[in-house]
């Protein structure tokens, strides 16, 4: 069948940069729901979403469709009515038996619709079906919702306009170039190539890779500190990006680098620049949405803004120091943590108590005392993303020892670098989790307004990566366990059945569980491991079928000589040999039992008719299973080919 290309451009007022990627994915998915298996290319700038679609057949294939009519029991009139509706004689109807009884049915031919018609009907749904984090109306309450107002629509199938309309905007063949640099009032479009070239003539680079290259090339030769997230944002904020380098007074370098970099990168969207030794240089790189800055006016403007920002930061830095952190503990009574969980002063008291319970040093307790005080500083009110860091910097400037200021500085990090930092962060997160759980405000579904999943994930990482053996409070165990599974699978890359096996064997200490998991992953590929796991699963099944729940010890002397007694002796031997060795050797020792286990199952009938023999045998198997399941619950291991 003949096929033609399709082009869609949705012209929008400036779309927030962070939303563009997901919107393109969404529009591609929605388009493919209507035209499965078609090749869809997506592009975007802040002002347009573009779908370039290759070769859609000119019409849908004809198909046959079975229409179910009235039940046969409804009588002849109903049948005649149904036949009339289908445009046939009653005799041409079929009868179909269904669980609900016998029904008339008719298999009719459905002609495939023309593709332009399908497009006309579906494009508004596809466009308006894109999910946005926060949509708006612009044509009044009953009008469509989109991220920003839609201002033009290009929709061409085989070069012809596909007619449709959204909020009074009719699809057409005209696109628009750069808001300020475009040479043509509007761009007549025939197909994707002519759109791309027309836009290029009018200072819009449609391809994000091209915009990326242009930013990196024009940023030369400044030694820009790489920042992928910022680069991404700038690609999505510009249609014709050009980087320019500016300078700031080197006297600002006396301010903490963290503050300077935050102002530049987060607030001003500038790249920071370093000198040859890798130190922060008094320079920055801004990315404009125009082609050049011939007289330096833009650079001059950016330098002026940055100077004002740095002056502000210096003012805050100096003002805050007039009142040391230690004097601010009491001020935390005025900072609410949560209406029902009290102020940060109360949280601080709880955190300090918990740091002591966790065995934290005096430095850790001091760090917990001061950790939240930066919430009362002007600098953190201005740069909220520097919470913790600013406290650390002030603590250092105010003469606190490194163990204290480092812990404060780090305590919002996923895993603080020092033990003190880890204990302070752990105490803080556990307190948060316990508090919200007590109020019943745990996350549900995708809703997690207090970021409790992140807090629990942080707890897992600190325990495992900081190698702390603390147990999780009982009420949080289930919630933390879920995060631990996620961590072991997604971050550590362990197989899910290994994670299940290890956690099922207990996880009072997550760092210990991590070690066991590491050992299981290492021993798993060896020859004996999976067969032995299969045998352990068999033992578990036997015990279950026998309703065996006793932990009585087996009488060694009553075991039958031969494979049974030999297995017992071998198990005893492994158990003695592996006492006190690492998990890996222990697992290898256990795996070495495999030939004897196989032989046992080969030669010995567990469910012996002799009750004493049987019970002793079950007791032995149960004992072996218990003893060798402290590292991992082998029965959780999934063996390929096993149903």
């Amino acid at each position: 069948m003949k096929a033609r290309d399709f082009l869609l451009e949705v012209g929008v007022e400036e779309i927030p940069d962070r939303m563009i990627g997901a919107a393109l994915e969404d529009s591609r998915r929605l388009f493919l729901e209507v035209f499965p298996g078609i090749e869809v290319e997506t592009h975007a700038t802040p002002r347009r979403l573009v779908l370039a679609v290759r070769q859609i057949p000119v019409k849908e294939p004809d198909r046959r469709e079975v229409v179910t009519g009235p039940p046969v029991s409804a009588g002849e009139n109903a049948a005649a009515g149904f036949a009339r509706k289908m445009g046939v004689e009653v005799g041409q109807l079929k009868r179909a038996k269904t669980p609900k009884g016998e029904y008339y049915s008719y298999k009719r031919k459905v002609k495939g619709r023309r593709t332009p018609d399908v497009l006309s009907e579906n494009l508004p749904k596809i466009i308006l079906g894109i999910a946005w984090p926060k949509a708006m109306t612009w044509a009044g309450g009953s009008g469509p919702r989109f991220i920003r107002p839609i201002r033009w629509l290009v929709a061409l199938y085989g070069g012809k306009v596909v007619p449709f309309e959204i909020a009074g905007v009719k699809s057409d063949r005209y696109s628009y170039g750069h808001r300020r640099l475009a040479a043509e009032r509007r761009i007549r479009v025939a197909d994707f190539e002519s759109l791309r070239e027309g836009l290029r003539r009018n200072f819009v680079l449609l391809d994000r890779e091209e915009r990326r290259r242009r930013i990196l090339e024009t940023a030369q030769p400044a030694r820009v500190r790489p920042n992928e997230a910022l680069l991404d944002a700038l690609i999505n904020l510009t249609e014709y990006p050009t980087a320019i380098a500016g300078r700031f007074d080197s006297e600002f370098l006396s301010l903490p680098e963290e503050v300077l970099v935050t102002v530049m990168q987060h607030h001003q969207k500038y790249f920071s620049v370093e000198d040859e030794a890798g130190r922060l240089a008094p320079q920055f790189v801004a990315v404009m949405n125009i082609d050049a800055d011939p007289d330096g006016a833009v650079r001059h403007g950016h330098e002026r803004v940055l100077r004002a920002r740095f002056n502000d930061a210096r003012f805050f830095w100096e003002t805050d120091q007039k009142r040391p952190l230690a004097a601010r503990v009491d001020d935390l009574r005025q900072v609410s943590f949560h209406a029902k969980l009290g102020s940060y002063y109360e949280k601080t008291q709880r955190n300090m108590e918990r740091v002591k319970q966790l065995g934290g040093s005096a430095a850790a307790v001091r760090a917990a005392e001061l950790a939240k005080c930066d919430l009362t500083t002007e600098l953190v009110k201005e740069f909220t993303e520097l919470e913790g860091v600013v406290g650390g910097l002030y603590a250092r400037a105010q003469g606190e020892p490194e163990a204290v200021w480092g812990a404060i500085y780090d305590h919002h990090e996923p895993v603080p670098r020092t033990v003190e930092g880890q204990i302070v962060a752990l105490a803080d997160r556990l307190d948060t989790l316990e508090g919200f759980f007590r109020l019943g405000l745990m996350p549900t579904g995708s809703k997690d307004p207090f970021a409790l999943r992140r807090a629990a994930f942080g707890v897992v990482r600190i325990l495992v990566e900081g190698r702390h053996a603390f147990a999780i409070p009982p009420e949080l165990r289930e919630f933390v366990l879920e995060r631990a599974r996620h961590y072991f699978r997604e971050v550590r890359g362990h197989r899910y059945d290994e994670v299940n096996a290890v956690l099922a064997a207990g996880w009072d200490s997550l760092t210990d569980a991590a070690d066991r998991l590491e050992a299981v992953s290492q021993v798993r590929p060896t020859d004996n491991f999976e067969p032995l796991a299969a045998s352990f699963k068999r033992i578990r099944n036997i015990l279950r079928q026998a309703n065996w729940d006793s932990d009585a010890a087996a009488q060694p002397d009553d075991l039958e000589p031969g494979p049974e007694r030999e297995l017992y002796d071998a198990a005893q031997n492994v158990s003695q040999r592996t006492r006190g060795v690492g998990y890996r050797e222990a697992l290898e020792g256990i795996a070495s039992l495999r030939p004897r286990v196989d032989l046992f199952f080969d030669k010995v009938l567990v469910m012996s008719p002799d009750e004493h023999l049987r019970r002793n045998r079950l007791a032995f198997l149960s004992q072996m299973l218990r003893e060798f399941s402290t590292i991992a619950e082998f029965s959780e291991i999934v063996i390929p080919g096993e149903s």
């Binding site: 007022e13 926060k134 009044g140 001003q268 801004a286 403007g301 003012f315």
Partner: protein, 280 residues
């Protein structure tokens, strides 16, 4: 371009776009949005276009005239276009050209920035307009006001006049701005910044402010019950809002009290909005 010429040019430009040119409202407000010309006019179906300069008071932002960029009171030029025309962004860009900014030689970006005023039950979707890295305007499509969905969506443009003037005059401190050719911004406003900072942070009588807040709140409630004068009731809301800001800058509002006072003011604002749309 001096400060007053900047104001003249912008007003003239928006007058040409069919805006009624209003004068500043004579009750203290924290932002031009709070003036009845915006807060009440955006409600209901009636088209409206208005532009006015509004001195906006934010007691906690005062810095005793020390900080080159932060002011207790700054000037906003507020434009309401209801309904928002299709070419509203172009109209805005042309207003910048009207004050002499060559947009082919300057970097301009519209960056996501949604606006919300909890005390007014109002929010909108929009951008901050960044000119060579400087935020010069808040651009908002109003979605809700006084807790009511807006049947006709207006565009609100709020120009930060001091910032734009500092850009045009290329000065680092607002106090160095030329207001006209004889007077500097410092000469006109420095004492006001200094003295009101003293008042807002040190001198204001907390007990008196609290009592006054209660009085205005009671007056507003009485007027809302009566129903004959929603405009007068709205003045009381503005008074309450400003008194709350003063108490806040005096450090007199505790954590728990804060949310409660905001809720009180919001309830009044919502009441006025409802009374306003109900009036014949």
């Amino acid at each position: 371009m001096n400060f007053q010429d900047l104001v003249f040019e912008l007003k003239r430009y928006w007058a040409r776009q069919g805006c009624l040119i209003q004068e500043p409202y004579d009750v203290e407000v924290g932002a031009g949005t709070m003036c009845p010309e915006t807060f009440l006019r955006v409600l209901g179906p009636q088209p409206y276009r208005v532009a006015y300069v509004q001195p906006s008071r934010r007691p906690a932002d005062g810095r005793y005239g020390d900080n080159p960029n932060r002011l207790y009171k700054h000037m906003q030029l507020q434009v309401i276009l209801k309904p928002a025309p299709d070419d509203v962004v172009e109209l805005y860009l042309k207003s910048l050209e009207a004050i002499g900014i060559d947009l082919k030689r300057h970097d301009l970006k519209l960056e996501e920035d949604n606006w919300e005023a909890p005390t007014l039950g109002a929010w909108g979707i929009g951008w901050q307009v960044m000119l060579d890295g400087l935020e010069i305007t808040q651009f908002t499509y109003f979605q809700q006001c006084g807790g009511l969905e807006l049947a006709v969506v207006p565009a609100e443009l709020t120009y930060g006049l001091e910032r734009i003037a500092a850009f045009l005059q290329d000065v680092d401190s607002v106090y160095d701005l030329r207001w006209n050719d004889q007077w500097s911004y410092r000469a006109v406003r420095f004492q006001e910044e200094l003295q009101f900072s003293r008042y807002n942070f040190e001198k204001a009588d907390v007990a008196g402010l609290r009592a006054t807040l209660d009085l205005y709140e009671a007056e507003c409630r009485r007027l809302l019950e009566d129903g004959a004068a929603p405009l007068a009731a709205y003045d009381q809301v503005l008074k309450c809002s400003h008194l709350f800001n003063l108490l806040d800058s005096r450090g007199a509002i505790s954590v728990t009290e804060r949310a409660a006072v905001i809720a009180r003011v919001r309830a009044l604002a919502v009441g006025v909005a409802q009374a306003w749309v109900k009036q014949p």
